[in-house]
């Protein structure tokens, strides 16, 4: 059975529909001891900004029922370091490497996309519209269709031939409107979804569990929400959708595909076991066989609703 997925013809071809979600797999290099990272459909790397960013105050993560909260604040070493020190170490000729990019304004998005557009090792870029784009100011491009489209359009114009993925947030009145707007602005793919804001507190110390008080909730707790968003978006846009949110098994991969996703990204589950993504890729063929699925293209979006 053929597990290859073409997200953008000739430009973004995956050997299987399972990617690593941004912020949960480092640059990919961190997971080399635990499996063959060239067997992954694609590596979406940790959030990248134009200049190095020290990130949010500690503590940054908290375990919650069915998931976790995180407020990392896009700690990263900046674009230059990524291009000169990380990219050359990655097996980008064998696995698509997709930086997740973040900026606090449109010009910064443009500048960052231009730098990455010139790199052979970059297969595509994922525009982060879902996190707080600057943890101090807290502006988010996802908050309305106009700002989201503006960010995507700026990246698209700077990205040359590289496919542009728009990663959406569920934290908005109508995610479908944002999906339509980013598609019109030139997004080649929509990635759905980023985290949703939550909070956890400790009644003994009377302190929040996170230094930033509020953080992004991810994990199986949000999977039904992600599935709903993918279902709603996939029905109205022409571009492929990557489903993200609480995936921890091959079964979850098929659920997202049934709802209309072309591919799926594994996130938080990479933390609880570094073997997760490799196991999912290993188990997918057997599960398809067990369920009598012999064509993923035909299966995709075939939900009887």
């Amino acid at each position: 059975m053929d597990f290859r997925v073409s997200l953008v013809d000739g430009l973004l071809e995956l050997k299987n529909p399972v990617l690593s979600a941004s912020g949960t797999f480092g640059s990919g290099l961190e997971y080399r001891p635990y499996g063959d990272i060239t067997q992954i459909g694609g590596i979406i790397t940790n959030g990248l900004t134009l200049h190095a960013c020290a990130g949010a105050p500690m503590p940054r993560i908290a375990e919650t029922p069915g998931g976790m909260l995180s407020a990392v604040g896009t700690q990263n070493d900046g674009a230059e370091h990524f291009i000169n020190a990380v990219l050359p170490e990655l097996p980008w000729q064998e696995v698509p490497v997709i930086p997740n990019i973040n900026a606090s304004n449109v010009d910064e998005f443009s500048a960052l996309a231009s730098l990455l557009a010139a790199e052979r090792g970059v297969a595509a870029m994922e525009v982060n519209l879902s996190c707080r784009n600057d943890h101090r100011a807290g502006q988010r491009f996802c908050q309305n269709p106009v700002t989201a489209a503006r960010a995507v359009n700026a990246v698209k114009r700077a990205a040359g031939s590289k496919p542009v993925i728009a990663k959406l947030s569920p934290q908005i009145m109508d995610i479908v409107e944002v999906a339509k707007a980013v598609e019109a602005a030139g997004a080649d793919i929509i990635s759905c979804m980023g985290t949703i804001e939550g909070m956890a507190v400790d009644i003994v110390s009377r302190r929040p569990m996170l230094g930033s008080v509020i953080g992004g909730l991810s994990g199986p707790a949000v999977k039904p929400l992600a599935l709903r968003c993918v279902w709603e978006i996939a029905r109205v846009v022409q571009v492929p959708v990557i489903g993200v949110g609480g995936v921890r098994s091959a079964r979850d991969v098929l659920e997202f595909m049934l709802a209309g996703a072309h591919a799926v990204a594994v996130g938080t589950a990479n933390f609880s076991d570094p073997g997760t993504i490799f196991r999912i890729i290993r188990e997918l063929p057997a599960l398809c066989e067990e369920l009598g699925i012999d064509d993923l293209n035909a299966f995709r979006g075939s939900l009887k609703a």
Binding site: G23, T24, F25, G26, E30, Y31, P33, Y34, N46, A52, A54, G55, M58, P59, R60, I61, A62, E63, G66, G67, M68, S70, V72, Q75, D77, H81, D202, V204, S205, R207, M209, G211, G219, P220, G246, R248, S249, T268, A269, N270, F271, S272, D273, P274, G275
Partner: protein
Amino acid sequence: MISPVRTELTVTDNVPFGQPVAGPSGVYRFYALTLERPAWKSWRPGQFIMLRPVQDGDGTTWARPLSICRVTSQSLVLFFRVVGPGTDRMSRLKSGDRVIVWGPLGTSFEMRPDTPTLLLARGVGMAPFAGYADVHPAPASLFMLFGHGLPSNNYPTDAMAARMELENIRDRTPGELEHFHSVVREKMLEYKEHGGLCLACGPMPFLKRVWERALELDLPTQLSLEERMACGTGACLGCTTITSKHWPDPVRAGLPVQTCTSGPVFWASDIDLHDVQPEERSL
């Protein structure tokens, strides 16, 4: 750099240590957890593992970071205190249960056979020093000062006492704790005067005071930090520590580095704990 491996191991033993003791934040329970020995090529004292019971299922509860207490020809031994739901699930592991383990992870303690070495431990922070004493080629050069709020039979120090000199100080009251810290300060001065080395492991309030004293004396000191961790691989960026201007890579001086991959053992002079508020850190 020792490459870590992910493996499923069988629990061979899990025994409570000492009697459960009521404390200010609940009942204190200690366990020595023994696993079959993983097929590691090597490991070094101070390194840690991530451990997750297989029976936690395919949910996303995190694994827990545990320092390697001891590795024998047959076993990997861990020592932990129950502090929350994760360690509570670990305390219920029985012989024959399976756990997922990845490791050995992170940096290790400096070992200088001919140098008088002061080991400073508080509470469960004694765990990695068991393995340190086991593999040290000249344990006669080691001295451990061990502060503990609970009775000493809550901690597996007997085998350690057979390998090296060990002084126990009970520090259950604020006054006793201050006494412990004053002995720590005196001992660090003594080791500075004798060209010694100091290694410390324990809770953050204790480590921060050791860190301050190490800088004050310019005594070569390593600290093993403890942080909340989700992955142990350097990916989640949840366990960072701020480096000092002396950090070996100047590009990262003054910036956060991951405790799981750049630590957990750091030279005191390489990190900056000024802004760490120990009481704000709950694991």
